[in-house]
């Protein structure tokens, strides 16, 4: 998907103004064929000792399930993501596996750096900052130049993040939206997320 095609499918320059609901999945997807998307394993990783990350991972897992993309959830100890053996275990997945990570910034830097060394393809990444009752999201898909930004209330998040990562995986949100309306938001501080393919 090149930039010209992306702009065409999203109705000109509307992407910067959101709503994200207007984004066609194919516009963000780096994996173009749904059959490919369904075939490759999908693993969701969130550190067990970071409740906000695990809550967000549960939220995304529910949306993925509803969209027909069941994901395996992994909750390694946060310290494991800072150790050589822990990282090796994380990457002991079949080639082609998609890894959707939600973790603290430090772990995200490490995991993405190691993934890059192992020849992983980077499909999308995001930053999620919580402050004063709101969450600010900034997400980027590799196939699109501009970052997608939005804010939402921490107590009632919209399914934009689900929509973003489903789109990056090449599928849309099922009719009726995600099965869980609102999960825990992000407290003061930040999380990072990313989608890569081994």
């Amino acid at each position: 998907m090149n930039r010209r095609e992306f702009i065409r499918r999203t109705g000109g320059g509307a992407i910067l103004a959101m709503p994200l609901a207007s984004v066609a999945p194919a516009a963000l997807a780096a994996l173009h064929a749904r059959s490919d998307a369904e075939a490759a394993p999908l693993v969701l990783v969130a550190p067990a000792d970071l409740p906000t990350a695990t809550a967000l991972a549960q939220r995304l897992a529910a949306a993925l399930r509803a969209a027909g993309l069941p994901a395996t959830l992994q909750h390694p100890d946060g310290n494991a993501l800072r150790r050589h053996d822990g990282l090796s275990a994380l990457f002991a997945q079949p080639a082609g596996t998609r890894l959707l990570g939600i973790m603290d910034d430090a772990a995200a830097v490490i995991v993405q750096a190691v993934a890059g060394s192992r020849g992983a393809r980077m499909l999308a990444h995001g930053e999620h900052r919580g402050a004063a009752g709101t969450i600010r999201h900034c997400c980027s898909a590799t196939t699109h130049d501009a970052a997608i930004r939005w804010r939402e209330a921490a107590h009632g998040p919209q399914p934009h993040l689900e929509r973003f990562y489903l789109a990056a995986l090449g599928v849309g949100l099922p009719a009726g939206g995600p099965p869980t309306a609102a999960a825990a938001g992000v407290p003061p501080g930040s999380l990072a997320s990313f989608l890569l393919q081994l």
């Binding site: 750096a113 890059g116 930053e127 590799t142």
Partner: protein
Amino acid sequence: MNKPERTLLPAGVSASDFEKALAEIRAIVGDTHVLADAPGLAPYNKIMMPVPDAQHAPSAAVTPDSVEQVQAIMRVLNRTRIPVYPISTGKNLGYGSAAPVERGQIVLDLARMNRILDVDADLCTALVEPGVTYQQLYDHLQENQLPLWFSCPAPSVIAGPLGNMVDRGVGYTPYGEHFLFSSGMEVVLADGEVLRTGMGSMPNSNTWQVFKWGYGPTLDGIFTQSNYGIVTKMGMWLMPAPPGFRPFLIQYPDDADITKIVEALRPLRIAMVIPNAVVIAHTLWEAPCTKVRRADYHDGPGAIPDEAVQRIRKDHNLGAWNVYAALYGTPETNDANWKIIEAVAAATGGTLHTESTDSGGRATQYRFDLMKGKPNLGEFDLYNWRGGGGSVWFAPVSQAKGSETLKQMTMAKDILAKYGFDYVGEFIVGWRDMHHVIDLLFDRSDAEQTRQAYACYDELLHTFAREGYGVYRANTAFAEKVAATYGPVKRDVERRLKQALDPNNIIAPGRCGISL
């Protein structure tokens, strides 16, 4: 297979010439080792600097696995005049990572060249390729039960000795000045010729890794922090594991204590009573590595107030300054020198901690591990301090004198605060110099904060330069500006060398400000 539309090309290169060159390179390394699609290239464009990704986006990446392949690739690129950006492991995070210095350059990723070619346990030397990581070398020494240590930098699990040495990085054992403890390089020049420096030029010599100088001008230095060649092998000295290793931490309560700390430690460092680089870390370097959350102390705009920093110290038992060093030797020599350390700590008002008395903080443990060359990733927790994936190192050099340190710290803190950033800094005491290393942490997902970070670095750089303080290493976004602070004559000589060794200007033009 659909051919991706080429949206990014090196400056001055047509799409058809570029495709032809890539086809030739594919024939050299194989299709799977040439990346030109967006998801494949994205890891090479993952930067932490306060500039847009697009400014450092590569046009392609190539991953050769031998020096012969590197030579063949360079012949193609030299003929077609396509610029290339060599990386070893590409983990120079905060200095530019794996991204090319200029948009459109092809990344030459040497990570597949990851062979440990030789370890001589008698002479304590090693010969490694660019893709070897410190963790890999550590595992090799452990598996072969070789009682040898090396010095490594903080991101050592994922970074490698060759790239760190070529960038003149430093570590924390007595062999911490990495270029000083290198011995011999193999370099592929722009035209594909291979040079071996020092004794490596002599046929049948077995002294490449033991005698650095050879005969005539010593060339190794010009291949560090430069773009005159592609280093494909490096010799390094390893350190015999000492019978006794005694790491320690001395904590000091006040910012102003830095003056007496440096005055007390410099003589010990020059006399090699303390043989490794002494690290003097400020509170806010220690805090994130001790799992302190910034948001628990300051969640508003601007730099964290001094009052909050004081509370962090109190709550988490951190010093204003936290001094890390170690004794290496026999138990007897360490016992003798330990009395000196105790006396210095007492005389300067510091609180001394050892492995047995430390309460087990994470920061202390990763520091102690680094001082014995054990790779770890403990320092990455710095990236949680502000969050958002923005980090750029500002690293001016100073004399190892107390008056200099307080002056530099005050200058840096004032400028950082003006732009809303925290002073997250440390001093690393060399033999007579100090590297003042500041991590300018910012939220890269916040456009305004990113602009402020750029302006802040710019002001730091030029304010320090006016005072005569130059940086020892810089991120690629500021390479040109940093090079300019060193004056025109040096730059002219660098350009003349570039003209002589790489007249088509194809190896990383712009790296360290060198280009034709």
